[in-house]
């Protein structure tokens, strides 16, 4: 009887531990940067940084400047070019983590094949406009959000999470993908 009681107590404890592990936020979730949600087209204000996504464009090929000539980058997935404006609000801000988060939770970092079009450092009083380029899987195009933070783990900092709900759409409702997007002309960025 005592042995049976021991087994029961152990089982209950194991269930409790599993429940805690499965349902409670992890310590890293409690201590991480605070998400600040916003939508495409509006200015989203975090603790130190304000940002606005103006435009999202999809393309199969990307024409980029390379050593005084244009080079075309192809992909099996999709190129996304996000045009945005950022400004530091209180103190100099650096932004290293700029990710495209698909609806299934797939996270894409900035492409290192395309040239970076947005600085990492921002200062108060000067709005910086630029482009972020991602190479994503086609199914991550709709219902995605853009996450911007220093490094997602800095305490007392915030992470901008901008829902990209105003992407260009084709008549069928899917993302409107152009064949070639030319970044070598400078665009409006």
């Amino acid at each position: 009887m005592r042995v049976l009681m021991g087994v029961v107590v152990l089982g209950v404890a194991a269930l409790l531990c599993y429940g805690l592990q499965a349902s409670k936020p992890r310590p890293v979730d409690l201590a991480r940067t605070v998400p600040v949600a916003g939508r495409q087209g509006e200015t989203v204000r975090g603790r130190f940084l304000a940002g606005r996504v103006d435009k999202v464009e999809f393309a199969r090929n990307l024409k980029v400047p390379f050593d005084r000539e244009a080079r075309t980058l192809t992909t099996d997935g999709l190129w996304v070019v996000v045009t945005l404006e950022l400004e530091a609000m209180r103190q100099p801000v650096v932004l290293y983590r700029r990710t495209w988060n698909g609806p299934s939770g797939l996270t894409f970092h900035e492409s290192d094949r395309a040239p970076a079009g947005l600085p990492t450092g921002f200062m108060v009083g000067q709005a910086s406009r630029g482009r972020l380029v991602f190479e994503i899987r086609p199914e991550a195009a709709s219902g995605a959000s853009l996450h911007l933070s220093r490094d997602w783990i800095s305490r007392f900092d915030s992470e901008l999470r901008i829902d990209l709900d105003a992407i260009p759409r084709d008549p069928a409702g899917g993302p409107d993908v152009v064949d070639t997007l030319d970044l070598s002309l400078g665009g409006d960025a």
């Binding site: 042995v3 100099p92 108060v124 009083g125 000067q126």
Partner: protein
């Protein structure tokens, strides 16, 4: 097995109860002990508490004596680096290096310890901050012949002798409208959480 399944004696039961009762005491204590280090670095790892320095006054900070000697806009020093609507503000601090490190060995000086992560910044009335601009080679501000004029970070590595009088010169890109009102700040590793805020003349 027979021994294990014997009912616990009175002494064992008493100690079991004592152990259980101490848990509510021990768990918070353990949490506090683990968190104390975080709190220490939260306090000593960032500049939080401002110390005002009146115009023209000298403040002892990081074992040295600091005076604000100049704060002027000099956009002509590096026009290419100045964005529209901004100006280049140049702050000069006069420093007399303390002699506290006389007794210490070379390479083990309080000078290096206290001046580590030397940060000069400017702050405006609303608490907005700007850190020193990265200008690269700027002979107009840092003439090659005047070795005593350099940025704070550069001086902090230069193993200056005690009692040496140096000029710490830092340049800031700030919006033109706040340039007349911003005040320089100084933060050193060895003095955190305190930092100096210099009043302008």
């Amino acid at each position: 097995m027979a021994q294990i399944s014997q009912p616990a004696g009175a002494g064992e039961r008493r100690w079991r109860r004592r152990a259980l009762l101490t848990l509510p005491l021990l768990l918070p204590l353990a949490a506090a002990a683990l968190g104390a280090n975080h709190l220490y670095w939260l306090w000593h790892g960032s500049h939080i508490v401002a110390r005002e320095v009146a115009a023209g006054e000298t403040a002892v900070f990081g074992g040295s004596e600091w005076t604000l000697t100049g704060l002027v806009a000099r956009p002509e020093a590096k026009p290419a680096a100045v964005p529209p609507g901004f100006t280049l503000l140049v702050a000069d601090l006069s420093v007399k290096v303390g002699s506290a490190h006389n007794a210490l060995k070379v390479g083990d000086t309080t000078f290096e310890q206290l001046w580590g992560a030397c940060q000069v910044g400017v702050v405006d009335g609303q608490g907005r901050r700007w850190s020193a601009a990265k200008l690269g080679y700027t002979p107009a501000l840092y003439p090659a012949r005047q070795r005593d004029i350099a940025t704070c970070g550069s001086h902090s590595l230069s193993k200056q002798p005690p009692e040496a009088v140096l000029t710490v010169r830092e340049a800031f890109l700030v919006p033109r409208d706040v340039a007349p009102s911003v005040r320089p700040t100084l933060s050193l590793d060895g003095e955190q959480p305190y930092y100096l805020v210099f009043q302008r003349r």
